[in-house]
């Protein structure tokens, strides 16, 4: 527990010594002879050079005025730079490199103009304004008992006059009305968006979709994809100019890799591919970043957001990191024209997991 004797008096003690008067500071109170740790009171005020030497004060005045003048000049410099320097001018300034001349000039002049106002004001305050410390008394925040009693009485009177306690029916229905009325606001939020339905379960892939190389926008053939290569692809029928392109690519983006068939550990995964070509959703199952940091010797695919690591040789099993399940694999085959095509949509929803995912 606290130490009542030397503390309790503190916050109510208003009749302390009169040392708060600035003129009397420094004399301190006479410490009781028996307490070596007693408060000796504020130390006497010491003068600065500027207080006793007018030449020093003049020097301070000139410094402050100089700073304010530099600020004015810097503002003129700012306007001049704004007018004179073309916006696309790149200049080399050590150590910053090849930077925009306008940005540098504007920022430096504006920064200087602001800084000098501040430096001048502070220098003025530090050297010329009085630096005699002053004392302000604190007063307890808690109201005096008679004030509290008055307020409580007023409140009781008000409550009585309103008949709030007596008319129970008024009270209950008021609470009911107030509790219900915010519901309208909640209902109004309904049209913020559609219901999820099965939107998250399906992507643009369907049986027979050609696999389009994102780099060439041409359908891929098996011979394009060599062992150790990495190909970013999407389903046919998607055009970056479409208004729903980003929504669709967020679910349908895939990557294709080719492994030596003997390196594929998961037979089902091998069967879903074509001669070692495997097609995985590249959307990480954790929060949905593209997990495309593919290491061709280890066959690991890493996600740069939270380091979930998937083993593409083993059905994209999770090796490390916060992802909870493998990247979905797309079943592919080769059609009669020799192009790779999908055998259907992903069998499980691509992208980050969600409650109804199962």
């Amino acid at each position: 527990m606290s130490n009542p004797d030397d503390n309790d008096s503190r916050n109510t003690d208003n009749n302390v010594s009169d040392e708060h008067l600035p003129s009397e500071q420094g004399h301190g109170e006479v410490a009781p002879a028996d307490d070596p740790f007693a408060d000796p009171g504020l130390p006497p005020h010491e003068h600065r050079r500027q207080d006793i030497d007018e030449r020093a004060a003049k020097r301070s005045e000139r410094t402050v005025a100089l700073l304010f003048t530099v600020s004015m000049l810097a503002t003129i410099g700012f306007i001049a730079s704004y007018v004179a320097i073309p916006i696309d001018k790149i200049v080399y300034i050590w150590p910053f490199g090849h930077i925009s001349g306008l940005n540098f000039a504007l920022g430096l002049t504006l920064g200087l103009a602001l800084f000098c106002i501040g430096a001048g004001a502070v220098h003025w305050a530090r050297t010329l304004m009085s630096d005699e410390e002053m004392v302000d008394e604190r007063h307890p925040i808690q109201a005096a008992p008679e004030v509290k009693a008055q307020v409580l009485a007023d409140f009781a009177a008000g409550t009585k006059e309103s008949q709030f306690g007596r008319r129970k029916l008024v009270r209950t229905t008021l609470f009911g009305a107030l509790a219900l009325v915010p519901l309208s606001g909640v209902v109004l939020l309904r049209d913020l968006g559609p219901l999820p339905g099965d939107k998250l379960r399906h992507s643009k892939w369907k049986a027979g979709s050609l696999i389009i190389n994102e780099n060439t926008m041409q359908p891929l053939r098996p011979e394009d994809i060599t062992v150790g290569s990495l190909t970013q692809a999407m389903p046919e029928g998607l055009d970056p100019h479409d208004h729903d392109f980003l929504v669709e690519i967020a679910k349908a983006a895939v990557m294709l890799v080719r492994l030596e068939p003997k390196d594929i550990k998961d037979p089902k995964s091998a069967e879903w591919g074509h001669e070692g070509i495997l097609c995985f959703s590249k959307i990480c199952t954790h929060i949905g970043c593209p997990a495309t940091l593919y290491e061709q010797q280890t066959h690991h695919a890493l996600c740069p957001c939270h380091q979930s690591t998937f083993d593409l040789a083993d059905g994209a099993r999770v090796l490390f990191g916060p992802a909870g399940h493998p990247l979905p694999q797309l079943r592919i085959t080769v059609n009669d024209d020799g192009y790779l095509e999908a055998l259907g949509d992903f069998e499980e929803p691509p992208g980050p997991s969600f409650w109804e995912r199962g």
Binding site: P22, L200, I287, Q307, F320, P352
Partner: protein, 551 residues
Amino acid sequence: MSTATKTAEAPEASSSRGKAPAGERIADWADGRLGIYSLAKANLRKIFPDHWSFLLGEVCLYAFIILIATGVYLTLFFVPSMAEVEYHGSYGPMNGVLMSEAYASTLDISFEVRGGLLVRQIHHWAALIFVVGIFMHMMRVFFTGAFRKPREINWVFGFLLFVLALVTGLTGYSLPDDLLSGVGIRFMEGAILSVPIVGTYLQMFVFGGEFPGTDIIPRFFIAHVLLLPGIMAALVVAHLILIVYHKHTHYAGPGRKNTNVVGYPLFPVYMAKAGGFFFLVFGVITIIAATTTINGVWVLGPYRPDQITSNAQPDWYLGFSEGLVRMMPGWEWVIPGGYTLNFGLLVPLAVFPTMLMVIALYPFFENWVTKDRREHHIAERPRNAPTRTAFGVAWISWYLVALVAGGNDVIALKFDLSINTITWICRVSFFVLPVLVFWATRRVCLGLQRRDKEKVLHGRESGVIKKLPHGEFIEVHEPLSREQLHTLTAHDQYRPAELPPATDENGVRNKVGLIEKLRVKVSRGYFGESGQIAKPTAEEYREITEGHGHH
């Protein structure tokens, strides 16, 4: 209120002297309507104590003002729209690239509007420094115990401002719709989707459909420029009013007591110093913005959900939440009924607010332990509250582990380490380090308390070596001044709580609840012999000083 109103400013009533000067007449006019004289009487000579650490809060205030000013300018040019356009502005390496209007207008601010790049960089740097300032300011308040009565509510206001700053930062980071900000939004989508039962519904409502859709940036925009800054501005005003009302804390020292505040008056000294500081902060941030790139969106490219960059991080203030996610192992359960619980996100999402609440609620915990109902206006030295200080430093170490984990890829790259090893070290440190740091900090605090006691009782080591007649060498200790003696002994020391006697005087058993028993235990840890060094008493001091000359 102020005891210092008697100086030049207070004019005698003017009517009798004929026509008053114009300034006074304007003031009279305003006083008749606003009562400004009474207001000024209380506040014009308000005293503020002088200490650099008391200016950290001002850094935040000024950064906030800078953010609003530059933010308003940016809204004049920014187009919060996700409509696709083909870019044909003056930045060559983006020519012809498909992008949202939001990203295109951000490029235009950087390359077509003269000074636009500067304002953008000031805005973003000010945002980073704003949150750094809040963090430092909170820690100053925490470690000096300035959150104690009567300032608990202001602590909560400050904490709310901290949280709102994080959210406002996140929404601002997302607006340019560049590759990194899009990844941030994608993270939000994943986080919302992981919420059990209602996740998919919430996601559809927040995004107006499937990710990314075309609604999220306009919605974030209005939150970032109107809703959040509006709430923050109101809280900032409340925060400031309470500071003025409570008067600032000061450190113990001669003449500085719990019942007064010692420093310089608002007018003129603090008007010049604080006003000047605003310009200094603005100037420094502007010079940083002139010389140092922040978020060079032009090389990031527009967001596409199938593209990504390595080193994908949020701004630093959310780095610790990023780290929590990176440390998390990949746990995911499919519960009966075919529902998925994605603990890889759910756990970090629960730990994130918990970490913040732990520090936010600490003041109430400490008050529960001390049961102290007095007002406190003396800022304590951290060493004199060892358990609190140790708790705070342990919390910072906890936070830092998560922050480091959030940058594990950059650290791995820069220091040639394995990202997996760093992650594992962070996983272990997250549980172990705070405990070690707590223990070590408490010991350091107790050691410093012991040294203070030593200094009070035996004086300060002068560095002068004396040879005694019998050949022994001793170092001369100089006694401390009265001011120092007072300063080093001015702090309060609580006594540990005690359980009431098992039976009262009538022999009836005292019932003590479990919670009270726990409180007594905690209190002993705080204030028992292991928790603090009893400060020197006058008797001890006299005993030693009376036998002087021996030492």
